[in-house]
Amino acid sequence: MNLRRFTSRMKLPALVILGVMLLFVCMPEAAKAAEPVKVGYTISLSGVYTALGVDLRDGFNLYMEEIGSKAGGRDIKVFVEDKGSNDVSRVLDLAKKLVEKEHIDILAGVVGSGAAYAVAEFVQKHKIPFVISNAGADDLTQRKSNPYIVRPAFVNSGGSHPLGEWLYDKGFRKAVLIGADYAAGYEHVGGIARTFKNKGGKVIQEIWPPLGTKDYAPYLAKIDRDADVVMVFFAGADALRFVQQYADYGLKNKIPLTGKGYLVDDKILQKQGAAAENVVTESHWCLLLDTPENKKFKEAYQKKYGHPPTLYSEQGYLTAKLIADALEKTKGEVKGEEFVKVMRSIDLNAPRGKVKFDEFGAPIQNSYIREVKKVDGSWQSVPIKTYEAVNQFWTWSPEEFMKMPAYSDMKGKWIE
């Protein structure tokens, strides 16, 4: 009786557990053959960032195809992993998997900033070069920078600085700030506000609706009608709704709408349609950019995927190009920190224009001011002014800049 009770209690759990274990023990570990360079690419292919993730992947694959997945005399093997939305523990699980099981040499990708901070710590511990394809949080290459990061994408506030000056130069003086209530919102909008104020402009109101707000009407009714410009950061579905509702409430013809490129992203611009007309935004890439590199990129992308590329496709493409160029330079050798140094020293001839990197791994690149207009029957962001080689610290020195309060702490402090 005693024994039977024991076996009946013990066998089941032990069997189930052992069975599951055995399944995995029997699976062979990836052999440690050192021939191909292994690149882990973690992007979002499910959850709210899916649309970005798909383009990041397609752009990356396009470049890999162009070079036949070979650089510096070695094959490149890419492990694409879906990290879901901004779920940090999931991303860390994947990073662990890529490092401990697949033994990757380089980690790339990452869409959300929260995940990027956590991964940055992880790569530093494991001494793996980290190529950030999207996450834009300022401090990744500022106050929390580390020697394993290089970001061929953007720094949230980096492109905001020229826009603030441009708006002042255009004669705007009184601004209302509106941004999604999270770090990226504070950084994108804060950058515009700081240079605008430095020149002599004034911020008269700040409005921070939560991320994912369904109805912007209560906020729109509050906008101070004395303002002569509204500076905005929203992205994705929020941007789609905001621009439409801004027009619906008759504000479009009263106070000009400006902001970062995400507001009228190529993914949503056609759906916003006339509501987005004349909206001025800043971006580090535009579809209409007339350079040989961009033309070639657009044609190849259209041919392979049957639709035009987006900002994110270009970022994925450049991620792959940066890795490949660096491998060419080192003849295929990847050695943690040194490889990052090589990547940071590379001058890229990208679809978006010339890209260099500063000592923190942040891009020094062109910044394009664009206006939404109808071109050949479809809505487009038309470049109207280019600021060349824009540094993440704008005209400040890194020390000066980092001594000022971070944008993420400036919410609510822009009005005098």
């Binding site: 009786m1 005693n2 009770r5 024991f6 009946s8 209690r9 013990m10 089941l12 759990p13 032990a14 189930v16 557990i17 052992l18 599951v20 274990m21 399944l23 995995f24 023990v25 570990e29 292919l45 499910s46 992993e81 879906d82 879901g84 939305s85 901004n86 779920d87 940090v88 523990s89 999931r90 860390l92 699980d93 994947l94 662990k96 998997k97 401990e100 099981k101 959300g112 900033s113 929260g114 901070y117 956590a118 710590e121 949080a137 209530d181 999270y182 770090a183 939560p210 991320l211 993420s408 919410k411």
Partner: protein, 342 residues
């Protein structure tokens, strides 16, 4: 004689768990570690579902609160490690103490929904209270402390063993509680609240105590998770997290001791397998839900046990089945009849 088999059960499981680091690579050991952490979370859901008949899709509330409390305390007070753990557990129990009175006056679907709502409220707080919680960036940089003198928990194997020890302690406590008179009263409440009330039990108090214990266990899991990843973040409160915990319980078998562990091992390892093949993990998770509900409503262990008990009963005419723990199916049937005879 029961304590005999209990001790042997522990030793057996301990043996299996001790052998694993020898045969598993670092990566798979990590998966087992996270499965154990989630199993503890699932056990906290199991206490409510299996022993009170309350399905909670908000267990991540306690999980997240404890993790955040540890990280915030470590950052701002920099106390000794065990005090941070204490604060984390206290925070989880406090959350339980506050939410409990609201939650336990409701039943089945209402309970499910209200727990979901609590989780959303906490998600909102962590997201918007940036100065304390770090907003959507979370609180990266939590370092594993020296919880045990001379042992560096930073290595995967050490942390694995630490998790195993905590897990076994939780299992032990869980077992003691559910087989104590207290646990029997809980089952009595699950089966008929009215009867227990008539018998003179303070039903509310028992439910509240069970809710607090569940919060405490959820907190244990949250603290382990916080130290394992070093970065509490708003996704800790996500619905997918809470619902996975519930699925693990149902999959393994509500009201069983090792069901949650079986469930969490299956989910964690299946997820790993699936991610090699497709990016549509949520379809698989959804299918797992649907299939479990349709084909194994008693969970794997529950189904096997039921089968066995039938077998034993037919041979053994004493038919004093020591603890015919009613399954979720039966208890939800009861819930149905209870609400129909309002």
């Amino acid at each position: 004689m029961r304590s005999d088999s209990r001790a042997l059960a522990f030793i057996g499981l301990l043996g299996v768990l001790c052998l694993l680091p020898l045969i598993l690579s670092t990566y798979y050991l990590g998966l087992v570690t996270s499965a154990l952490i989630l199993a503890i979370l699932a056990m906290s859901a199991n206490l409510l579902l299996g022993y009170l008949g309350l399905a909670s899709v908000g267990q991540a509330t306690f999980f997240g609160v404890a993790g955040y409390a540890v990280a915030i305390f470590t950052r701002s007070v920099d106390g000794a490690a065990w005090s941070a753990v204490g604060v984390g557990l206290l925070a989880a129990v406090m959350a339980g103490a506050v939410f409990g009175p609201l939650a336990i006056r409701t039943r089945d679907i209402f309970f499910l929904v209200i727990m979901l709502a609590f989780c959303q409220i906490l998600y909102g707080i962590t997201y918007s209270w940036r100065s304390v919680t770090g907003g959507d960036d979370g609180l990266p940089g939590l370092v594993r402390p020296a919880l045990i003198p001379f042992v560096n928990l930073d290595t995967p194997v050490a942390f694995y063993f630490f998790t195993v020890i905590v897990f076994l302690i939780v299992v032990g406590v869980f077992w003691l509680v559910v087989s104590s008179p207290f646990g029997l009263v809980l089952k009595g409440i699950r089966d008929s609240e009215v009867r227990m009330r008539v018998l003179g039990y303070n039903v509310w108090l028992y439910k509240y105590a069970a809710f607090l214990l569940s919060a405490f266990i959820g907190g244990v899991s949250g603290i382990l998770q916080a130290y394992y990843y070093g970065c509490p973040n708003p996704a800790d409160f996500s619905l997918i997290h809470s619902s996975s915990a519930l699925l693990m319980v149902i999959l393994g078998g509500p009201g069983t001791l090792f069901g949650p562990l079986a469930g969490s091992l299956i989910i964690v390892f299946v997820r790993d397998l699936v991610s090699n093949v497709t990016d549509r993990w949520l379809i698989v998770l959804g299918l797992a839900f649907v299939c479990t509900v349709l084909f194994f409503p008693d969970g794997l262990l529950g189904t096997i046990r039921k089968f066995r008990q039938q077998g034993v009963a037919s041979v053994n005419h004493q038919a004093q089945a020591p603890m015919p723990e009613p399954t979720a199916q039966e208890s939800s049937k009861r819930l149905l009849s209870a609400s129909k005879s309002k």
